[in-house]
């Protein structure tokens, strides 16, 4: 199964570091920074796996994740920020379906 791996150990550790330190700093930061930190982790993970990802994922990563930095600029507009997150949720659900047997049954 090794050929299917999209993340190297060093890269996984980098992502762990980001998630662990994000958890710590969130104790001192406003609650609305939580989505920002999670999306930063999403961006990093996406940048790490994109080159080795399958066609099923690549479109999702290229079309959606690259928009995340623009979303951060909307943090002060809660409605727009929420809509951006909803759009991302819809896109990741579509990606999940492409990876799922459900898509083949349709």
């Amino acid at each position: 199964m090794q050929a299917d791996w999209v993340l190297k150990e060093d890269e996984a550790i980098e992502l762990l570091a980001l998630l662990i330190t994000s958890a710590r700093i969130q104790m001192d930061e406003p609650a609305h920074y939580g989505p920002l930190r999670l999306l930063t982790a999403v961006e990093r993970l996406s940048s790490l796996i994109e080159a080795r990802s399958s066609q099923k994922s690549r479109g999702f990563l290229q079309d959606n994740i690259e928009r995340i930095p623009d979303m951060h600029m909307l943090m002060s507009d809660v409605e727009a920020y929420t809509e951006g997150l909803d759009a991302l949720c819809r896109a990741v659900a579509g990606c999940l379906l492409r990876h799922s047997a459900l898509e083949d049954e349709a």
């Binding site: 570091a17 662990i20 330190t21 700093i25 930061e29 600029m73 002060s76």
Partner: protein
């Protein structure tokens, strides 16, 4: 407009920087500006650590979720607690925070005056930074200032939460 006032009004936080290096002389000019920042009681408890080495910057960025920049230079403002304690101050003394703020502002204004870009970062794990930089126990890492050149593709800054003028922030005379 007066050059100093123009510098104050045109400075912006920059979150996207290019790989273009910053000259040593420019860094020294910025550090001298930090040295001239006002300090409570003229105690000067701040110390500055300059990080240029690529691998050290990479590791620091991994424990600093708020560091969106890939800056060629990081200046870490630290508090030297030996200085603080020698003058009978405690961690609750607000002058210590004010000192960090005045130094940070001088660093950012000097950086902007040199035509460079700066962005402060406070979202990082102090304990992880302490390990990576092998900080002595009496140093605490207070704030990073990322220094570099603004990326050509840099986005505009975060949208303002509300329009504010100095009048909105000011009350004259007595309540």
């Amino acid at each position: 407009m007066n050059e100093t006032l123009r510098n104050i009004k045109t400075r912006r936080v920059v979150r996207e920087m290019s790989e273009e290096p910053v000259e040593r002389e420019q860094i020294e000019t910025i550090l001298e500006a930090a040295r001239w920042a006002p300090s409570g009681g003229n105690l000067r408890p701040n110390r500055y650590i300059v990080i240029k080495a690529a691998e050290t910057r990479r590791l620091l960025r991994l424990v600093a979720p708020g560091m969106f920049q890939r800056a060629p230079v990081l200046i870490l403002i630290c508090t030297n607690w030996q200085v603080v304690e020698a003058h009978g101050l405690t961690a609750r003394d607000r002058a210590l925070l004010i000192d960090i703020g005045t130094a940070a502002q001088n660093i950012m204004l000097a950086t902007h005056a040199l035509g460079l870009a700066a962005g402060p970062v406070t979202s990082y794990s102090k304990e992880a930074v302490r390990i990576i930089l092998n900080l002595p126990a009496h140093y605490s890492p207070e704030m990073f200032i990322c220094i570099g050149h603004k990326a050509a593709s840099a986005r505009q800054g975060m949208r303002a939460w509300q329009k504010i003028t100095w009048r909105d922030l000011t009350h004259w005379e007595r309540f």
